[in-house]
């Protein structure tokens, strides 16, 4: 079976793809659970920040026309938590959690990741502006921040999408 015959090539091809397939599945078998566990733990830690000690169940189906909501969780007896991703000034976008209590008032507001320009966009994530949002309730308009219009309007979009979902419940 000389080296250039097609049969030899098929054998080499078979061996290489077999080894690579088996190796990958085996390694994936080991690492996948660890990755999943770490992701869930991180998610839970974020949710705990808003409603400490509450029981969270993920809501699978929700129709969100704006496409900004990336996760919805119900906290037993407390309210709903919405995870949103919006694009502000920087293209990596902003991820945040907003919680709405059953009675319509805001239960909490937590930013997970953002890379807005510091000095301008990042002013939206300082405590005083965040507290203004936390003091809101469904229906009143979201406070904007002069000098950080792009970022605050992006946040406004995300919060309104969450309110729409809450109202739609």
């Amino acid at each position: 079976m000389n080296r250039e015959s097609t049969l030899y090539k098929v054998v080499v091809l078979g061996v290489v793809s077999a080894v690579c397939g088996v190796l990958l599945s085996w390694i994936n078998g080991i690492t996948a659970p660890i990755i999943k566990a770490a992701a869930e733990a991180k998610e839970k830690a974020n949710l705990e920040m808003i409603y400490p000690g509450a029981e969270f169940t993920a809501v699978e189906t929700y129709d969100d026309p704006s496409g900004k909501i990336t996760g919805v969780y119900t906290a037993e007896g407390k309210g709903m938590v919405y995870k949103a991703h919006v694009i502000g000034y920087s293209s990596n976008g902003i991820d945040f959690l907003v919680a709405i209590n059953d009675d319509g008032t805001f239960g909490g507001f937590q930013v997970l990741s953002q890379s807005e320009t510091n000095g301008f966009g990042s002013r939206c994530f300082e405590e005083d502006h965040m507290n203004k949002i936390r003091a809101m309730s469904v229906g009143d308009d979201v406070p904007l921040l002069s000098g950080a219009t792009i970022t605050s309007t992006a946040l406004k979009g995300g919060i309104e999408a969450a309110e729409a979902l809450f109202a739609g419940e």
């Binding site: 690579c20 397939g21 990958l24 994936n28 996948a32 496409g67 694009i87 502000g88 000034y89 920087s90 293209s91 792009i150």
Partner: protein, 190 residues
């Protein structure tokens, strides 16, 4: 995100070369003459569009049902290589003129970082098929736009005198830095 904002975002705001640094190899090598820049640009548009759409279909109809998401990288790189081979063969067969202006750049595209990035970015952004096509064309358009702009600048650059150490690619990076400043004006557009 509607289609138009995806298009503008990928074309100008997060341009594949200036804000994601992808496709730097062909950007440096090809962009000394305008005609070769345009030839490379069109070839890249064609390959990125085709490869991304085929990769998207393979991912959502073969890898996800079987739960083999981790095979994504191997399948995409093999798919892109095969697609480039197929396109080169097709161009060789159908039109010599097209091959003369376009075909010779095709083998270079196999190792182009931008093609693989776009194919995988469409998956991470969870685009549907139409958005994938629009995003691919926009990214490739951005790539070609940069190539053409850079070729015109670089043709003038050849004549100018500069310290020997800066000749060739180092000065190209300085020009790219200045263009990055210019393009950062688009940030926040979308």
């Amino acid at each position: 995100m509607n289609l138009f904002s995806i298009f503008i975002a990928s074309l100008l705001v997060n341009n594949v070369i200036l804000s994601k640094f992808l496709g730097m190899c062909p950007f440096l090598g090809v962009s000394t003459k305008l005609s070769s820049a345009i030839g490379m640009g069109v070839a890249v548009i064609f390959v990125i569009l085709g490869a991304s759409v085929v990769s998207w279909v393979l991912y959502y109809y073969a890898l996800v049902p079987l739960g083999l998401e981790y095979m994504e990288l191997i399948c995409f790189i093999l798919l892109i290589a095969s697609f480039v081979q197929f396109v080169e063969m097709f161009v060789k067969k159908t039109s010599p003129a097209l091959y003369k202006s376009l075909g010779i750049y095709l083998p270079l595209i196999t190792t182009n970082c931008a093609v693989l990035f776009v194919a995988m970015d469409n998956i991470t952004q969870k685009y549907n098929l139409i958005e994938t096509a629009v995003n691919s064309v926009a990214v490739a358009g951005g790539f070609m736009l940069m190539l053409v702009i850079f070729a015109t600048i670089r043709e003038r650059l050849e004549g100018s005198d500069m310290p020997k150490a800066w000749k060739g690619n180092p000065i190209a990076f300085v020009v790219a830095a200045i263009m990055a400043i210019a393009f950062s004006a688009f940030a926040g557009l979308v």
